[in-house]
């Protein structure tokens, strides 16, 4: 069973390809989003096509599947109306699939399930990465604010932090927000006495 992956995120595509190979599905082709899509598909002749739900080429892709004489014509997934749960899980995770008629559900389900898990894992990773980036940015602005308080009010570092913290608690804001306000006002009014 040959599987093609079409994904606007090449790192997510790599994660899925790895996962499928680990599961013993070795006939996997990752389509290069930067090169002409249809020519690659025509060379590949996949039986299952996994594509991210929001891929901008999907209308083109569906037209190609409907017209193609070069390959068996895959149709939109959700072959089995009774299995709507698996389908919904796929759509929720952001995966869409096209499958050549005749492949049994038993063979396709593990592929879809795996794609769904990998898509979910990828978005968790993205979230974590975003959080880590935010935390780094927070720390930088807090350090700047502390330095301003050190200079302006002659506080030591623990006292500067504790001042930020207590003000944040009193005003129900995040410490980073209070720190940002100090940095901004210093930038605007730093040269005033």
């Amino acid at each position: 069973m040959r599987i093609a992956i079409i994904d606007t995120s090449s790192s997510r595509a790599a994660i899925i390809v790895d996962g499928l190979r680990d599961a013993g599905l070795t006939d996997v082709v990752s389509i290069d989003p930067a090169s002409p899509l249809l020519a690659q598909l025509e060379r590949t002749c996949p039986e299952v096509v996994l594509v991210n739900l929001e891929n901008p080429s999907r209308d083109l892709l569906e037209d190609y599947f409907a017209m193609s004489r070069a390959m068996a014509r895959p149709i939109a997934m959700f072959v089995d109306q009774s299995d709507t749960e698996a389908t919904m899980a796929a759509v929720d995770a952001g995966v869409s699939a096209y499958i050549v008629d005749g492949l049994t559900k038993k063979r396709i389900k593990p592929v879809l399930d795996l794609a769904v898990r990998r898509f979910e894992a990828f978005s968790r990773l993205q979230d974590e990465l975003k959080e880590a980036k935010n935390a780094l940015a927070d720390r930088a602005v807090i350090d700047k604010a502390k330095a301003i308080l050190l200079k302006r009010r002659g506080l030591d570092e623990p006292a500067a932090y504790s001042l930020l913290r207590s003000h944040a608690m009193q005003t129900n804001r995040r410490i980073a927000e209070v720190a940002q306000a100090i940095v901004t006002s210093e930038a605007l009014m730093g040269d005033l006495p």
């Binding site: 929001e54 209308d59 409907a66 939109a76 759509v91």
Partner: protein, 401 residues
């Protein structure tokens, strides 16, 4: 308050659900609308079929194709409301425009067809067939373009190629030379024109004066279950449509539709489209073309079964599948005039007495029977003056070029 999540593509003809939400028509009916923007029809359709959305701004033929199971397992969709007629155009690349002798004025379909036929033959002989982009395989754009081409003696798929380019990418495809022409909705023709990469050759309203365009589609079972809420939604959309065509409303409407979360286009471009003033080539004065968009008058929102029948006829013609009476019935059953009537009975809306009509048969204004209000239909002719009788699809197809 009941909520409807409504999927849409960034197009000017997504106006009614957007404005119903932004201008309070939904709230007045006790309905909350949440808009979900996508870039391809495939994604809009998946979200609708699998419950990410409750309704969608959708291509009318795509709703029918889905009900007929073309390209995917069949799923029952219903169309209780038409979001508008007309509103699309055929834009040629600057080179094709010059080759066909496009001038300052709007071309006439038959004459332009003759010029295009000569160019198409030259390109065919040179082994580089002309290529046109349409927004979807199952779009009115595809069917309008093919209707016109076939009508002027150019065979789609043989003499010229027709490929798919999603609306937000159509102007880019024209600029890159991937296609020689596009048939797309606004603001994408005007964006191509303003970028100086193309010239508008025809409005689809010149091919069919009252062509059914986007519709509101819902999953049929969900529509039946939420009948009361759906009725409220339709009243909200109808009120938004009435306001949309008020003369003083255009500036506000354009400002809303142009926002990044909707069409993400210049306000001035959207303004031209919704006031029927279209610039044919860069820096030219906008041309006023009455009914370029058609969102409200003449019971435009009423889902005529005969519109679905015409689309089904085109579908069999261009999918090259045999006519089936059963399929024709399923296709017409997607359009739900009964739901429209039930929702708008007792309101000020005009309700046609019939659910089906001869399409393309009105050449002068014609008063027709109405169950509520007064209905005078304007000219709805096709460019070749053929009329379509929904009771005789096989006869119509047999006589089609």
């Amino acid at each position: 308050m009941s909520t409807f999540r409504i999927g849409f593509l960034p197009l000017v003809d997504a106006a009614l659900p957007i404005l119903a939400h932004e201008q309070g028509f939904a709230a007045a009916e006790g309905v909350r609308i949440e808009l979900v923007r996508d870039l391809t029809w495939a994604t809009v359709l998946d979200r609708l079929l699998y419950g990410h959305t409750d309704a969608a701004h959708l291509l009318a033929p795509l709703a029918i194709a889905t009900a007929l199971g073309r390209g995917r397992p069949a799923a029952a969709l219903s169309v209780p409301f038409v979001l508008g007629l007309n509103g699309n155009a055929v834009t040629f690349s600057t080179a094709l425009g010059a080759a066909c002798g496009l001038g300052e004025k709007l071309a006439e379909p038959a004459a332009l067809g003759e010029a295009l036929r000569d160019v198409a033959q030259v390109r065919l002989a040179a082994g580089r067939r002309l290529r046109f982009g349409v927004v979807h395989r199952y779009s009115s754009h595809n069917y309008m373009l093919r209707y016109w081409l076939a009508g002027v003696g150019i065979r789609p798929d043989a003499d010229v190629e027709i490929v798919v380019t999603s609306p937000p990418f159509a102007a880019d495809a024209l600029a890159a030379g991937d296609v020689d022409g596009i048939c797309v909705g606004e603001p994408w023709n005007s964006i191509a024109v303003d970028r100086g990469i193309g010239q508008i050759a025809l409005f689809t309203a010149q091919i069919w004066r009252r062509g059914v365009e986007k519709v509101l589609a819902l999953r049929q079972p969900a529509m039946e279950q939420r009948a009361g809420e759906v009725a409220a939604l339709l009243r909200a959309l109808h009120a938004a449509a009435a306001h949309f065509v008020e003369s003083g409303a255009a500036a506000d409407n354009a400002a809303i539709l142009a926002r990044p979360e909707y069409c993400d286009a210049p306000v001035e471009t959207v303004m031209r489209a919704i006031t029927d003033r279209i610039r044919l080539r860069r820096a030219a004065a906008p041309l006023h073309f009455a009914d370029f968009m058609f969102q409200y008058r003449e019971a435009a929102n009423f889902p005529w079964r005969s519109q679905a029948a015409w689309l089904y006829a085109q579908m069999t013609r261009w999918d090259r599948t045999p006519f089936s009476a059963e399929e024709a019935e399923t296709a017409q059953g997607v359009f739900r005039p009964d739901v429209y009537r039930a929702a708008l009975a007792g309101s000020g809306a005009t309700l046609p007495g019939a659910s089906s009509k001869l399409e393309g048969a009105v050449s002068e204004s014609l008063g027709v029977g109405a169950a509520q209000g007064r209905l005078i239909l304007g000219s709805d002719t096709f460019f070749d003056r053929r009329a379509f009788d929904p009771e005789d699809i096989p006869g119509y197809l047999a006589a089609s070029p």
